[in-house]
């Protein structure tokens, strides 16, 4: 998706300065049109990036961000040495990786399965049903988790029938990550599969015909035709996902978090919210936020570089 655009960006503009100026003059109204949005981005996206310097300062409300005194790396060091550091890093990366390992392949498998359905109506029904949870809000989904996974909820009733004793899913740390990951799969697998289905629809039918003539079974054709056909889509999405490995879906973690599962549910983003917004320790939590963004950014660059080297597919 981003690939093409970046390709275009690589080509230098060859127009001589005079023609370029004429072009600008002729399309002055387009510049006028885009100007408000550029200003909007400068204010709401780039100004906060500039404001990140608060992480290196001691924020004093009366002085504002600019007037507050510099303190260098103090807040970062305090964070690295704090009691929470290891727990936060462990939980954040643990949850992301768990989510990636389970949540990434399932939509691919689902798309391959849906693609094998021959009856149009059945296919439509399956798609309609599996996409539906995507339209529920995070609050509603977490609310449903509390209802269905409570000690006397549906899931524990079913477990009871199977002779398994009650599990306190929402209040025990050991179940937090599993509950998070699998409810996410439940909500998003159908929706995430759309992209792969689109890619599968784009595969040349002649490849399948040729494989059939060579006597390939359906399973073999999935393996040797379908999977290679959606390979570049898979890689691009994998890069995008790993790029946000340190910033797991904050909203849902935040909603599922409570005093009892804190040990497993406290991630960097919720910690920033607690110390920063709720606790008003602006500088300290901005430092943690910057640390998070920086790691994300480097992981993205690293994964993109690796993908480029090994598979010639990359974001840029």
């Amino acid at each position: 998706m981003v690939e093409n655009r970046i390709e275009q960006a690589k080509k230098p503009l060859k127009a001589p300065p005079k023609r370029r100026w004429n072009g600008v003059k002729r399309n002055w109204d387009l510049y006028l049109l885009i100007l408000p949005v550029v200003i909007y981005f400068l204010i709401f996206k780039y100004y906060p990036m500039y404001g990140v310097q608060i992480a290196f300062k001691d924020f004093i409300a009366a002085e504002g961000i600019w007037g507050s005194p510099w303190v260098g790396w103090e807040h970062f060091i305090r964070f690295f040495e704090s009691f929470y550091f290891e727990r936060l890093i462990g939980n954040t990366i643990g949850l992301s990786l768990y989510n990636l390992v389970i949540g990434f392949p399932i939509p691919i498998i689902l798309a391959l399965l849906i693609n094998e359905i021959r009856y149009k109506k059945a296919k439509g029904f399956v798609q309609t049903v599996t996409y539906a949870p995507h339209f529920l809000s995070t609050v509603v989904v977490v609310g449903m988790l509390f209802l269905l996974l409570s000690p006397n909820g549906l899931v524990n009733q079913i477990l009871g029938l199977l002779g398994i004793s009650e599990i306190a899913f929402m209040t025990s740390p050991e179940w937090f990550k599993t509950t998070y990951v699998f409810s996410d799969v439940w909500q998003q697998m159908g929706w995430s599969s759309i992209i792969y289905l689109a890619a599968l629809a784009g595969i040349d039918p002649q490849l399948h015909e040729a494989a059939k003539i060579d006597g390939a079974s359906r399973l073999r054709r999935i393996w040797h035709v379908n999977l290679p056909g959606i390979r570049s889509t898979i890689i691009i999405l994998l890069i995008l996902q790993t790029g946000s490995i340190v910033s797991v879906g904050f909203e849902k973690v935040f909603l599922m978090q409570n005093q009892l599962n804190m040990e497993a549910s406290d991630v960097i983003a919720t910690h920033i919210y607690r110390t920063g917004i709720a606790g008003a320790q602006y500088s300290y939590s901005a430092a943690i936020g910057l640390f998070e963004s920086a790691i994300n950014f480097f992981i993205l660059i690293f994964v993109n570089y690796t993908a480029k080297k090994t598979s010639q597919t990359s974001l840029w």
Binding site: V38, Y46, V52, L113, S137, N152, F297
Partner: protein
Amino acid sequence: MKQSTGDRFFGIAVYMCVALITLIVLYPLVYVLSASFSDPAAILRGELWLFPIDPTIESYKSVFQNEDVWIGFRNTFLYTTLGTAFNLLLSIMVAYPLSRKDFYGRNVLTIFLVFTMFFSGGMVPTYLLVRDLGMLNTIWAVIVPGAVSVYNVVIIRTFFQNIPNELRESAELDGCSNIQYLIKILLPLSKPVIAVMVLFYGVGQWNAFFDALIYLTDRNLFPLQLFLREMLIQDQLSEMVQVSDSTLDNHALTVEGLKYAVVVVASLPMLVLYPFLQRFFVKGVMIGSIKG
């Protein structure tokens, strides 16, 4: 060509897997719907499996007697309509120039936008900005900070680019300005992508709660999702239900039933709309993924 035994067996396995997945996704939804119409006592006793037990609409009555629900609906409706209109306007204003091959600086501007997808100032500097702009506890705090999704801009731009350039050239010969071309020719031709965007942004706004959580403290401005959070997750329902029941047990039961009903009430508008709009959504995801 006749299917081999292996292929036929494989086909059956596929259908069984798909049926199982569909069931897993569908069952919790049906269960919640049934539970909302059931006698709460029966749910707690574990008698409910598929169809409502002792069908009743008592839970729904209590939901609509709740003042917070009405305030929430009113605000969410306001934020969704205003927010979506604002999102759409800004997105088109930026997507149109970027779709033009003769627009100098489009590459630089594209990178300027895309960079914000991967790097941001973070929660705290953004919060301080919104605070300094005096937007705390105003409807602007919910609508303005997340107004443009770069991802959606890319979708719109791609769609614009696929409309033949000859059309613009001939319009230009007839003396049509850039803005006139956008309003009179391009936008009417872009109804499908605009529909997709209204839906994407609309669903996003309907379900949003995070900006409201950070920036709003005035309960009169809370969107529905924040009230839902209190009712479903923070368990503050007990205090909100008008206590007309004499016994505490009865009270707890009312609360339990209310939760199911409130889930249904909050999600129904989206879930009812969605099957009709599904093809638009799917198209949007596809435009966004294949090209770009």
